[in-house]
Symmetry: C2
């Protein structure tokens, strides 16, 4: 590694260490690693597939089915949000991702009868974030909104 690469890796490690959301996401990835392939990988390396510059994402065709690895990444993202909301509120929640073959659909996180996160998905083939910071910001934003809703309508969570 060049000094610049080392510095970038250290920066990324610092971002992960300071983000409860990214740590939750890493946990999701490690939980889906039955053969221990990633055991010795650094956290920030595991998150790399989530980060891709917009230009590169735009080159992914949206005509075909969504790649199973991409679906796995989408699920991991929303499951990490669900895990964080659970940590903050104690509310157990479910994650449902409903994708058509054309990459359109819904990602929902709900607890009882309350939807904590509701996102329409489009061009899911291109799911990804420009930078690690943007991945973190989007995840944290959805966590905060979910926590607010769970706290505002606890009764609807408990139906």
């Amino acid at each position: 590694m060049s000094p610049a690469q080392v510095a970038a890796a250290l920066d990324a490690a610092l971002v992960v260490d300071n983000s409860p959301f990214l740590k939750a996401l890493v946990q999701q990835i490690r939980a889906n690693d039955p053969y221990g392939t990633y055991r010795n990988w650094a956290d920030e390396l595991l998150l790399k597939p989530y980060v891709m510059p917009k230009k590169q994402r735009r080159e992914i065709p949206v005509e075909g089915e969504v790649d199973p690895l991409t679906i796995g990444r989408i699920l991991g993202f929303y499951r990490a949000i669900a895990a964080r909301i659970e940590e903050e509120t104690g509310q157990l929640s479910q994650v449902v991702v409903d994708l058509s073959h054309e990459g359109f659909g819904w990602a929902l996180i709900f607890s009882g009868r309350l939807i904590l996160v509701s996102k329409t998905l489009r061009d899911a083939q291109r799911f990804g974030f420009d930078t690690l910071e943007k991945l973190n910001a989007e995840g944290e934003k959805l966590v905060q909104r979910g926590v607010e809703l769970a706290q505002k309508y606890p009764e609807v969570c408990d139906i």
Copy 2:
């Protein structure tokens, strides 16, 4: 048709005529008939694939993927419920059916942040009802519960 068959068909027609839910379900089926194949079919005939004795359903294997026609029937069922709730409450709602390849999953109907209908699906390959009356009763029950929730938490629907 034998006299008994004629009597059964007339009975079925009467059940459909008296059920807003079954009429909504028929509408769903006709809406998915772009070539007009069913144009001249009686309503009760269109609903026949929903009715299958338990014994016969049990013979359907649950190892394989869920048949696309079965998925279509499941979607039709929940979309008809959504249409009925909309009629009763004026609340627009979304239907999401998330099925794994093993026939497990979720059927959700939601409006804003409120889940009006929440059902776990299992053995979806065997989706069906013993009789037309039971199909109607299950649909109506879910409609009523959904309407109650929409009326109890209108604020959550409007988020």
